[in-house]
Symmetry: C2
Subunit: 344 residues, 2 copies
DNA sequence: CGGATTTTTGCAATCGTTTGCACAACCACC
DNA sequence: GGTGGTTGTGCAAACGATTGCAAAAATCCG
């Protein structure tokens, strides 16, 4: 047999010991003499032995060594820079713990749920990361019932949540943006948002409304389905051509803000002279927009890395109390906001 | 036992047949009567049975159902939009074939090679995708020797290559760019490039040089290490302030072109009045640059999807002749190029 | 130096699936 | 109703690792 060094058994044979001894020596189990342990470890290293993952996973029942991330195909849409950053952060965070990231792509929400079930049943992953949470998220409900380790990026309507989550403080950011613009003399505000019941929308809007409460500021809202650019543009155009158009517009995320910038230019509105615009996320194009977009940086990379850490901790200690982490954002002032126009 | 429906054996027991029969019925093997087959399939569906991947992989020796992509950490640098698009394309292409994508992150080239060896030895993946090839790529050499299925995005110096690759026709694009600018009256050209021996650099530069041969056009070259923005900016600045500065600059990729745009603005050079700039890749920010960047679109998403298809084909037919695919680029004319200045 | 104790090691079962081979059942034909 | 040929099914041995339990070896102690 030529499997010397490739398999446990082969390695054991070439050393004249049993497979059990080799296994214990390599995994640092007690009950192995220091001499044998060192001999085995040296031989394993020399032979370049790497345990077969499938075999290990099979016997231990867990330990595929993967963490899964299920992505809806149009979900991250053309938001590739976000996806790239998120994935890279996760990968970095996981590789510190010797875990690999596995990605599954599905066409829609229903397929996503099916895929999650499939992953759990086939034991293809030891844990899952859920992005883009909704208020009543069926994925969360199912995983909770299945008792499978997971962490969400974003909150749901559970309170307190019996699972781990990490979220960015959108409410705080929007309150901060309001205060800033208010201080610059703005009184008529606009909000460009989406229709989907994502929790990040909820929190940002609530943060804004809470900050506005008690002031004499007004709010016009433009919403559209997330991936319908036509309706989005129509809604924005309507908002900007209304009689009492806002002088300051907050956008749920940068993609919307960039659209506002384009439409403002098309309508002959000067930014920030006539109109202030503030986004959220600080995606790549924001810095290169005309004018460069003022926005909030949520450090996706770092958030993803933290998510990875939380999940790994959960997988190793299933019983630990849930971890909830709210990440503060950082305002990135660029050139798309300024004082309210004089004639207001 | 409560494993009815969760495992093959349990399913078999509840049906009163043997595990072998269930296995054959589900995997469509011949020699099973239609009646039993349908009964088994129905029961499996009803019970939501999903085969355990580890067990299957263990017995078949292959078939972990994963394809691996190893990424160097600073490798894709801040090029997250590229990474996101690439990963998404791969995922889409693979999921069509029931294969999942798995990502491993490593800090440097040496670790990457180690990781590849590790993946192959542990049978964690059935195939690998290699990005960012260099001319003499050690990963390729090793995988070739190991006889492990892989496909590269980009060529190496093998000719003809005894493996599958897919690449974008950078030579063609740069020749096209030269012809275009030449037709607009430009005679003094600049090239902003990097120092690393990536094959995409080689091909683009060769394409440009071949197109220039026999003309009276001149070429100034600015190079720097890929991720050293200081040296990059100094090199660009030197090129643009030289006595006979170029009137048209080709950039190896968009990131460099955006830097050229910034530096030109800083130096008071009008684009495209004084200087034409053309990039490559058509990344997100290119469309939002000032002025919007003329560039070449290589449709990363589609390329990645094609890569996935090539790899799956290779995994199922290891002996087939190597596939080589050169993807044509599409010029995206925007506002950063124009006729040569009059006083030249 | 013999027995008790502790250490070190090996045996064998197990995880869930696939698959070669043998066997049972059925049909048809002479 | 034997013989021969299909067909459909089950038995059992893998795949490569982990681990409870028992046996063997080493150590200790009086």
């Amino acid at each position: 047999m030529s499997d010397t060094g490739r398999t446990l058994k082969g390695l054991a044979r070439s050393l004249g010991v049993s497979a059990a001894t080799v296994s214990r020596a390599l995994s640092g189990h007690p009950g192995i003499s220091t001499g044998t342990r060192e001999k085995v470890q040296a031989a394993a290293r020399a032979a370049g032995y790497v345990p077969n993952r499938a075999a290990r996973a099979l016997v231990t029942g867990r330990g595929s060594g993967f963490v899964g991330l299920v992505l809806q195909d149009p979900g991250y849409g053309r938001e590739h820079s976000y996806l790239g950053e998120f994935v890279q952060g996760l990968g970095q965070g996981l590789s510190d713990h010797g875990v690999d990231l596995f990605l599954a792509f599905v066409p829609d929400a229903q397929a996503e749920l099916g895929m999650i079930r499939n992953i759990v049943s086939s034991r293809r992953a030891d844990g899952l990361i859920l992005g883009r949470t909704t208020e009543a998220d069926p994925r969360v409900a199912w995983l909770l019932e299945a008792g499978f380790p997971f962490v969400t990026h974003g909150r749901t309507d559970h309170d307190p949540a019996p699972f781990d989550w990490l979220d960015t403080d959108g409410a705080g950011a929007f309150a901060e943006a309001f205060a800033l613009l208010r201080g610059l003399g703005h009184r008529r505000f606009g909000l460009v948002s989406i229709e989907e019941p994502m929790t990040f929308r909820l929190h940002r809007v609530e943060g804004l409304q809470a900050a506005m409460a008690g002031t004499d500021a007004t709010l016009a809202v433009a919403t559209s389905p997330r991936y319908d650019t036509d309706r989005r543009d129509r809604a924005i155009r309507a908002m900007l051509t209304a009689p009492d158009r806002p002088t300051a517009v907050l956008c749920l995320f940068d993609g919307l803000a960039l659209a506002v910038l384009d439409i403002a230019a098309e309508l002959g509105l000067a930014v920030p002279g006539d109109l202030s615009v503030i986004g959220f996320d600080n995606i790549g194009p924001a810095a290169h927009a005309r004018p460069p977009l003022s926005t909030f940086d949520s450090d996706t990379l770092e958030a993803a890395r933290a998510l990875a850490g939380i999940l790994v901790a959960r997988m190793t200690a299933p019983g630990a109390p849930p971890v909830h982490r709210l990440i503060q954002t950082r305002f990135v002032p660029r050139a798309s906001h300024g004082p309210a126009p004089a004639n207001t």
